[in-house]
Amino acid sequence: MSRVILPEPDRAILARREGIVADLRRLVGGEAIIADEVGRRAYETDALTAYRRLPLAVVLPSTTEQIARVLRYCNQWGIKVVARGAGTSLSGGALPTEDAVVVAVSRMNRVLEVDYVNRIARVEVGITNLAISEAVKSAGYFYAPDPSSQLACTLAGNIGMNSGGAHCLKYGVTTNNVLGLKMVLVDGSIVELGGPHLDAAGYDLIGLIVGSEGQFGIVTEATVRILRAAEGARPMLIGFDSSEAAGQCVAAIIGSGIIPVAIEFMDRPAIRVCEAFAKAGYPDVEALLIVEVEGSDPEIKALLEAITELAKPFDPRELRVSQSAEESAAIWKGRKSAFGAIGRISDYYCMDGTIPLGKLGHVLVEISRICDAHGLKVANIFHAGDGNLHPLILYDANDADQADKAERAGAEVLELCVAVGGCLSGEHGVGIEKRDLMRVQFDASDLAQQMRIKTVFDPNWLLNPAKVFPLEGRPEAQAKEPKAAA
């Protein structure tokens, strides 16, 4: 793997490394700087481990003001900066370059304010996703977006990638749950947007910033919506003889007017691995749906009965409602640990396209065909309710040929998603991984408009370099960048 080309590092910056480190120490204090090679190694990649670059230095700030000082300095001297949360990006969003300073916000993890009357929490963005929910759990509240990596991933990364999760079918993704931001701009100035009220004043800058993949500035604090948890929730398992039947069942549920809180899909290869790992009692079927509904006991009962009726025409092999909190936990544990469980048996390349629901059957058949053609196996796991696919293409990372095939197969899968009316990424972001596929989804004029906005926030293109936008076709400011090399 690693077909994506990264630009040659700026040699002048590399040559000044020691001086830059000394300056950073002076600006934020030595204890906030990692300069030794062993320490920097920990930041050379993220969850897309095929790509690695040792960063120039790592800054671990404790305050917004420290970040402001670092950005002001880097902007002044033309030094690139890569913002980082927990480094769980599956698209290489936190991959550094050799000539870049990594600013990792993991130390900034405090809950600053919880306001149950107005149903908001104000937090530093280095807090993990799950820690926000934990902080408000005793009062019966939670923070809705729930990426599978929620134990580790930070709100910073969630904001960068506009992360989703299994339950966003009902509650929306990050951008729907962020009301306010404090952000350091590339010149070191600090702006505050929105707050505890709904819909910030003026242009929707928060909407532009959430999901901008660290291209626009470094967010340091956020005001997020917290929601009162439902009285109860219960999943049911519905097994089918074919993926098509499962896909049609999803459409029937959504079309009926019932919006479950989650509808998750797994195919047989994924089911087997997850069952071996979590002992969740998944049936051994060709395709499985986990459908979860929420509410009081009578509401849950009524909804599950309705869903059972809707599923019957599709000839389910198995229809089973969770009977206990333990069983529900096991069902979700299996699903949420799916990536890890599959990672124990094989290397995999995780895709993240989204498709219109009606194309589900067709796309699943095509994914199998694509992977077969490359001689690779695939396990499918995804958020079926909103058409967000996560095919895991299995390969051997020690086999360069297989790795290359996996990446090619992945690109073909994403091209297929776009061809049927979907998109390259539903929740993982473009990062380095899908950068060169952006032209599949967007034409030159679409990309030009996006890049003009990037230039508004980051006139010299110093933030999170070499990501998101194809290298060719970048504006003039980028033409000066050293020529790309393999």
């Binding site: 306001d115 709904l198 629901l357």
Partner: protein
């Protein structure tokens, strides 16, 4: 009012904008004209109407998605949705009655361009949260697209949200794709009468802090109640505090029981049945109680608990009456006409309590003299000005409508 050009397709729209950009001819954008009187008055001589860009281009009820050309009348589109038991869940606020524009004329493009959402915003999100994709033309005359037709999409810069709420100052949408949701099977409303604002907002916030999925939380001061068309409530002659519950009947019944038990200390709780509930919330959405007059009208967004404080603080300086939505976080505030429509006081109070205020209705000379939209803090103002230039370098799209200098 300037004369209008009405492009019949996206290509013609792009041609018009290209020429206007080159000639630096400012254009006043218009959909159906229902919000024509909102914003700072412009000095443009040429109008650009999206009224001929009509038609639903995609509707997949099973995927909860619809696309339409931007000039498609909202009423027509909602009719198509209703035939399949679906709706725009964020209940786009109708400004026609309140702002003296043409009633029921709103277009779907303007719904997203203004991002004005109704009562259900507290539960399902704003207009911006339902916009999945768009096609638009920028001030250079370039056609671009953003987003798509799928529910989850984080590919590239989120231009959909960038354009939502930009009041036609960045680009002209030619087509929008959006999420639709099933209409609830059953609706009921709990009503408490005669509560002072502070207590009423406490009731609304308490209800919002339960698991019982309140989908509308409004409070009307007595002066607002007196203007209701709903006779039963108008006849009460006192403040009305309303909580809406929606879903299948058994679920509504259950949650109604729970909420009544929880809120019983606040006084007698009355029920509005399904039909009466629909009538009340439809009326609140249409804002007919804020019918056009010469009284200035403000729309204030603040933290719900700050709502009554904001209103009380402004009321110390001038006579005003309030309709609170969003559990107290959205205030429609009407006041007696003054030379500045109360702007100085409103801005000062907002600075203390947080949030933002928009002057929705006032005489043109007043709207020309005061900030209609919330003034921006310096850093945010700089970015906003540059963002405008990134879409519309010649400044031809609704120049001055939001801010005096861009």
């Amino acid at each position: 009012m300037p004369s209008d050009v009405r492009p019949v397709d996206e290509r013609e729209l792009a041609q018009i904008l290209r020429e206007a950009g080159q000639a630096r001819t400012p254009l006043e954008l218009k959909g159906g004209g229902s919000k024509h009187n909102i914003g700072r008055p412009m000095t443009t001589t040429l109008g650009l109407s999206t009224g001929a860009l009509r038609g639903i281009t995609l509707y997949e009820p099973n995927e909860m998605v619809m696309a339409a050309r931007s000039g498609t009348p909202l009423a027509q589109l909602e009719e198509s949705l209703a035939q399949r038991g679906q709706m725009l869940a964020f209940e786009p606020a109708s400004l026609g009655a309140a702002a003296g524009g043409e009633a029921r004329a709103a277009t779907i493009g303007a719904v997203f361009a203004t991002n004005l959402s109704g009562a259900r915003r507290i539960m399902v999100g704003a207009a911006r949260d339902h916009l999945l994709g768009l096609r638009a033309v920028n001030g250079r005359g370039e056609i671009f697209k953003a987003g798509g037709r799928v529910m989850k999409n984080v590919t590239g810069v989120d231009l959909c949200r960038g354009l939502a709420g930009s009041w036609g100052t960045l680009a002209v949408m030619s087509e929008v794709t959006f999420k639709v949701l099933p209409m609830p099977e059953h609706t009921e409303t709990l009503v408490l009468l005669g509560l002072p604002d502070e207590i009423a907002i406490e009731v609304l916030c308490t209800a919002m802090g339960t698991p019982f999925e309140v989908s509308g939380a409004a409070h009307l001061q007595p002066a607002m109640v007196a203007r209701l068309e709903h006779e039963g409530l108008r006849g009460q002659g006192q403040a009305v505090t309303a909580l809406r519950l929606e879903n299948f009947k058994a679920s509504v019944d259950y949650r109604k029981g729970k909420l009544k038990a929880l809120l019983k200390a606040y006084g007698e709780i009355h029920d509005l049945d399904h039909d009466n509930s629909l009538a009340l919330w439809q009326e609140l959405r249409a804002l007919t109680l804020l019918k056009a007059s010469d009284a200035p009208l403000w729309r204030i967004s603040t933290a719900p608990s700050a709502g009554p404080k904001v209103v009380a603080a402004i009321a110390r300086y001038m006579d005003c009456s309030a309709f609170y939505d969003w559990a107290g976080g959205l205030i429609w505030l009407e006041m007696l006409p003054t030379t500045d429509a109360g702007a100085a006081d409103v801005r000062r109070v907002i600075a203390t309590h947080g949030g933002h205020a928009t002057l929705i209705r006032a005489a043109p000379e007043v709207r020309a003299a005061v900030d209609v939209f919330q003034p921006l803090e310096a850093g945010v103002g700089t970015i906003s000005r540059q963002l405008k230039a990134a879409f519309d370098p010649a400044g031809i799209l609704n120049p001055g409508r939001m801010y005096a200098d861009f």
